[in-house]
């Protein structure tokens, strides 16, 4: 993707983000202020990119799952499982390395479970991931023993509340993960293959793509992102809350992907656009608080956003919107016109 096409792809998200920021700063002019205090950057924008970390991380994995025409409802519960595993591990004195390893492994196993149900048993993604969405919190509570499992580890809580060169660590993690996944799918052929099975699974299999393994890998990727989000959430509050960690974040993550202009019907995807979507959601969350509105408005605004996007993406409406652009294209490309009229 060249710079120009990339810019065109993410322009709606950038404009939306800018509009939201302008709107918020009208009510709260100090929005833009960032100061450097005690070796850390402090300011509303910094707060946004820190608090938006879990949804941003989930959105990365969810983008890939949705690109395959799937959906992963279990990510919130997987966050809880992974956070609980990490906290338990710290609590048992196994150290931070083991905690991170265990959380990551738990996320991958959850993804494997979902992926196998979808790819090998042929169960619809929404149905398959529902199982873990329901049972996952029970499993997390099993690990924490039903309490909020607190721990005391400065190294671990650094992941949630520390800073690197003044930037909050969660921010660093989601940006690095985003770049990592971005490179992984775009510098290899994975992105193309994922888009291909999302558009036409049968034709892709006939072209020699190993669709089943690829599907499983995508769900495992989503599980891994959920593990990172779970670790951050746990580290941030210095405790694993099996009931509330990641509660309803799967919906925010799906929303972020949809705001990012990725179609729920699979195919073309942009991780960057989904990340912008996550930041839009977080700016709205923060902005509503700052502007002095009760946080109750938050959900209503999200609902309105979903409805607007649905209308814009609707297969019944898109043809009318595209009419203008395709007409222009035809004029530009007389060769195609001739071909069509043979």
């Amino acid at each position: 993707m060249t710079g120009a096409t990339l810019l065109r792809r993410i322009a709606p998200q950038l404009l939306t983000l800018a509009a939201v920021i302008v709107l918020v700063s009208i009510y709260y002019p100090a929005f833009y202020q960032i100061v450097y205090v005690n070796d850390r950057l402090v300011g509303i924008p910094i707060d946004v990119i820190k608090r938006g970390a879990p949804v941003a991380l989930l959105a990365i994995g969810m983008t890939l799952v949705i690109a395959t025409r799937g959906i992963d409802l279990s990510v919130g519960a997987v966050m809880a499982i992974c956070g609980a595993s990490a906290a338990w591990s710290i609590d048992q004195g196994y150290g931070i390395g083991a905690a991170l390893g265990l959380a990551g492994a738990a996320g991958l196993v959850c993804g494997l479970w979902n992926g196998v149900l979808v790819a090998f048993f042929g169960i619809q993604p929404i149905v398959a991931t529902l199982i873990l969405m329901v049972a996952g919190r029970g499993i997390a509570q099993l690990i924490t023993g039903g309490t909020i499992l607190t721990f005391d580890s400065d190294t671990f809580s650094f992941l949630g509340s520390g800073t690197l060169l003044g930037v909050p660590v969660p921010t660093v993690i989601w940006i690095l993960t985003g770049i990592g996944f971005g490179l992984l799918v775009r510098r290899t052929a994975l992105g193309l293959l994922v888009e291909s099975i999302g558009v036409n699974l049968r034709a892709s299999t006939l072209a020699g793509i190993n669709s089943r393994v690829l599907l499983v890998a995508v769900y495992m990727g989503s599980g891994f992102c959920a593990a990172l989000a779970g670790v951050i959430a746990t580290a941030d509050i210095r405790g694993a809350d099996a009931n509330n960690a990641g509660l309803w974040l799967e919906l925010d993550a799906i929303l972020a992907v949809v705001i990012g202009g990725n179609s729920l019907l699979g195919g073309r995807f942009s991780i960057l656009a989904s990340l912008l979507g996550a930041m839009i959601i977080q700016t709205i969350n923060t902005g509503i608080l700052l502007a002095g509105f009760p946080s109750e408005f938050n959900l209503v605004i999200k609902a309105v956003l979903v409805i607007v996007i649905l209308v814009l993406q609707s297969p019944r409406i898109v043809p009318y919107l595209e009419l203008l652009t395709t007409r222009r294209q035809r004029v530009k490309a007389p060769a195609t016109k001739m071909e069509a009229g043979k």
Partner: protein
């Protein structure tokens, strides 16, 4: 034998087996008291699951019901506090609102040709947000009529109480059974679940049926909201988070195919009671932790989804 009824038989067998296990361990569980409590405690879930059954058999899903229940409680509590309206008038107003709300979602699903999952997700946010906008606190309901309703019961043999709430649930299930199995609308619901394109070719008014399906789900969610407010004597916008998941689980454990086209209303009742039974068992046991409920429900979900998948293969193979 009717292969589509197999999950229903499985559901009933599992429920009876589970009850037997409970009885062997805690003989006290075999009493109309426990059954009465089971019905009362799960009344709101059962009612909302009736609506969900219709939605799921039509091939859809309704994620908004938990939020609608919470909104209903808040709406009732606030209106009773702020106005002098009789609760019955408030109930009528509320049911009209939630029914219209459901109808609007059904209309969007049909007009925009978008997945029900995402449309009702917007509905979920909207209803929860609307509840928050009325109040963010838990508003107690203190009304003489509420006390009357809470005290109303029918004494079953064995001193078990069939409360008004439990009775409402049973009545809803019966209403749902009639609607689903004895009306043209019900047949159209199954037809939609069997295949929308074919149903349209066979003359089913797809748009109207879709609107009615979600309107009915909205109505049932409103009714569940009323029952829940009577049960808790309060309205709280943060209440019943995740009830839509429990309702979906109850429907699937009740033997309904999550992808639509097959299922029974009676199975949903058994599904709700099975879930209630697991909780009751854990309470009786006293040493088991509550999270086992979720894990067991998850395992049951998996079992029924795989059973349905297996039956589908079986049907396709002959």
């Amino acid at each position: 034998m009717n292969i589509r009824a197999l999950p229903l038989y499985a559901t009933i067998a599992i429920f009876l087996l589970a009850y037997l296990v409970c009885y062997l361990q805690f003989p006290a569980m075999l009493s109309t008291r426990v059954i009465g409590n089971l019905l009362t405690d799960n009344a709101y879930l059962g009612i909302v699951a009736v609506g969900m059954t219709v939605v799921i058999i039509s091939g859809g899903i309704d994620l908004s019901v938990g939020s609608v229940i919470a909104f209903s409680g808040v709406f009732i509590a606030v209106l009773l506090r702020e106005t002098g309206l009789h609760p019955l008038a408030v109930f009528a107003l509320l049911l009209a609102i939630t029914t219209l709300f459901g109808a609007a979602m059904g209309g969007m699903i049909h007009l925009l040709a978008m997945p029900p999952f995402i449309v009702t997700l917007a509905g979920m946010f909207l209803a929860r947000g609307a509840g928050y906008m009325l109040t963010i606190d838990s508003v107690p309901i203190d009304h003489a009529f509420y006390e009357t309703m809470q005290r109303a019961y029918y004494l079953m043999p064995g001193k078990g109480r069939l409360t008004l709430l439990g009775g409402t649930m049973v009545a809803s299930v019966i209403l749902g059974m009639i609607l689903l199995h004895r009306t043209k609308f019900g047949t159209n619901v199954y037809a939609l679940g069997g295949g929308e394109a074919t149903a349209r070719l066979m003359g089913v008014a797809v748009g109207r049926t879709t609107v009615l399906i979600y309107a009915f789900s909205g109505l049932m969610a409103g009714l569940a909201g009323i029952v829940f407010s009577v049960y808790t004597s309060a309205g709280y916008p943060l209440a019943t988070v995740g009830v839509e998941l429990n309702a979906i689980a109850a429907v699937v454990i009740g033997g309904t195919l999550l992808t639509g086209g097959s299922g029974y209303m009676f199975g949903t009742l058994i599904g709700v009671l099975t879930m209630g039974l697991i909780q009751t068992y854990i309470v009786f046991d006293g040493t088991l932790s509550s999270w086992w409920t979720k894990i067991v429900i998850g395992a049951l979900l998996l079992m029924f989804i795989l059973l349905q998948k297996g039956l589908l293969r079986l049907r396709l193979s002959h």
